[in-house]
């Protein structure tokens, strides 16, 4: 009897080990790049210039870094070495005022801000002058329920991650509705459905990348709007984890000048980089408060020269990284 049990247990162990090897081989890819090295950091908790109270978004031009300083209801601007240059925005819901600014996107000489509490996308000049605002509260087409991120197409169309709306909306520059992905207000884990989407990015050819927040995955759609692929853990179906190519809450997605995909992997305290087709390339970051460590990575931006800037949420600071030589 005892031998039989031992034999059965041995069989189960072999099967489990076999499954673990399969999972490892199939769903845990190895790095294909040498990766990134830490350069510098700036910021600390507070509300003075250069200090942060919940940095939640980041975007870069050729020379400047823009940061959403959410609880301070402002955007701060720095040079690439972290020197404070200017700030704009105050708490409120009028033009130029902000209620929890989240992910940022720069298009041409304008800054697009996902104005989460005010259910709108606000557009500023890079000098901070308020230009216009798109959207209002609601569930109808063209309305938002807590927008988390925005991307801008070559023709001026906006793609907006509507967090509580559980959808991605495409709008013309004047705010008129074009189409949407996902079922309004309904969470889903199948292809083309969302579970609190936080951000979107657009490739030059119009391919749409979605940070499908609590589904712990990235979804990709063709310029025509068809579902192309998804990745993040086994089958890209809301299975989170700490391995290469897996996520634990996705809060930002952005592309570099080659179309590679950078993802803020919030609870894994890291940034992950993929090729445009979703092949895992490299990752950097670990949990902590020291140089090069993170307490929740919430946003990432990539400069033309490949320098990467990261919003280190709970450490209330920005980190600068560069590709290893």
């Amino acid at each position: 009897m005892g031998k039989r049990i031992l034999k059965a247990l041995g069989g189960v162990t072999v099967v489990l080990l076999g499954l673990a090897v399969i999972v490892w081989l199939v769903w845990i890819p190895s790095a294909r790049e040498v990766g990134y090295e830490f350069v510098s950091t700036w910021g600390e908790p507070g509300n003075a210039p250069g200090q942060f109270h919940d940095p939640t978004g980041i975007a870069v031009t050729a020379t400047e870094v823009f940061v959403s300083d959410a609880r301070n209801a402002r955007i701060q601007v720095f040079d690439f070495d972290g020197h404070f240059k200017r700030q704009f925005g105050t708490k409120g819901d009028g033009p130029g005022r902000l209620g929890r600014p989240m992910n940022l996107r720069i298009d041409g000489d304008e800054l697009y801000v996902a104005d989460y509490w005010n259910d709108r996308i606000q557009v500023f000049g890079l000098d901070g002058a308020p230009h216009r605002s798109i959207g209002k509260s609601g569930k109808d087409p063209g309305e938002f329920n807590a927008p988390g991120g925005v991307a801008v197409a070559g023709n001026g169309d906006l793609y907006v991650a509507d967090f509580y709306g559980q959808r991605i909306q495409q709008l013309h520059a004047d705010g008129s509705f074009v189409r949407q992905w996902g079922h309004t207000g309904k969470v889903g884990i199948r292809a083309g459905e969302f579970n609190y989407p936080t951000d979107v990015a657009l490739a030059d050819d119009g391919t749409l990348y979605v940070a499908d927040g609590y589904n712990d995955r990235v979804q990709v759609f063709s310029p025509e709007g068809r579902f192309v692929r998804k990745w993040g853990g086994p089958f890209g179906m809301n299975i989170f984890g700490p391995f290469n190519g897996w996520f634990a809450t996705v809060t930002r997605i952005t592309l570099d000048s080659s179309g590679n995909v950078f993802v803020a992997d919030f609870y894994n305290n890291r940034v992950q980089k993929f090729s445009p087709d979703g092949t895992f390339l490299s990752t950097f970051g670990s949990k902590g408060t020291g140089p090069g460590q993170f307490e929740k990575v919430i946003a990432v931006a990539v400069a033309r020269d490949g320098t990467v800037f990261v919003a280190d949420f709970a450490n209330n600071r920005i980190q600068k990284w560069q590709p290893k030589p």
């Binding site: 919940d54 989240m102 989460y116 509490w117 807590a146 809450t249």
Partner: protein, 104 residues
């Protein structure tokens, strides 16, 4: 006489402060995952008249809300609010803000 008047005035002011102290609610919530959740809950709570300070502790799954005197939060109301925000309400405790102040 002046001393008596001053004492009465002080007493009235103290009473007004005490009555206006309001209430602190501490709610346990499942499913809080990131600042998007915290801000979403804050946004919904802010829409209730009389709600003041809101603190959301993501790690503890705790939402602490101060409300003005005359405002009260009910369990059915909070269950619906948190459900709409995508989370599961678990429990709620309340105490007078005046009582909280005494303990600080």
């Amino acid at each position: 006489m002046k001393k008596v008047m001053a004492a009465v005035m002080l007493s009235m002011i103290w009473s007004a402060v005490t009555v206006a102290a309001g209430t602190e609610y501490r709610m346990r919530v499942d499913g809080l995952a990131c600042p998007y959740c915290a801000y979403g809950i804050e946004k919904k709570l802010k829409e209730i008249e009389g709600v003041g300070k809101i603190d959301v502790d993501l790690n503890a799954g705790l939402v602490i809300v101060d409300v003005a005197e005359g405002t009260s939060l009910t369990e059915p109301q909070m269950k619906t609010l948190f459900q709409d925000a995508g989370f599961t309400y678990r429990s709620m405790t309340e105490k007078s803000l005046d009582e909280s102040a005494k303990h600080e």
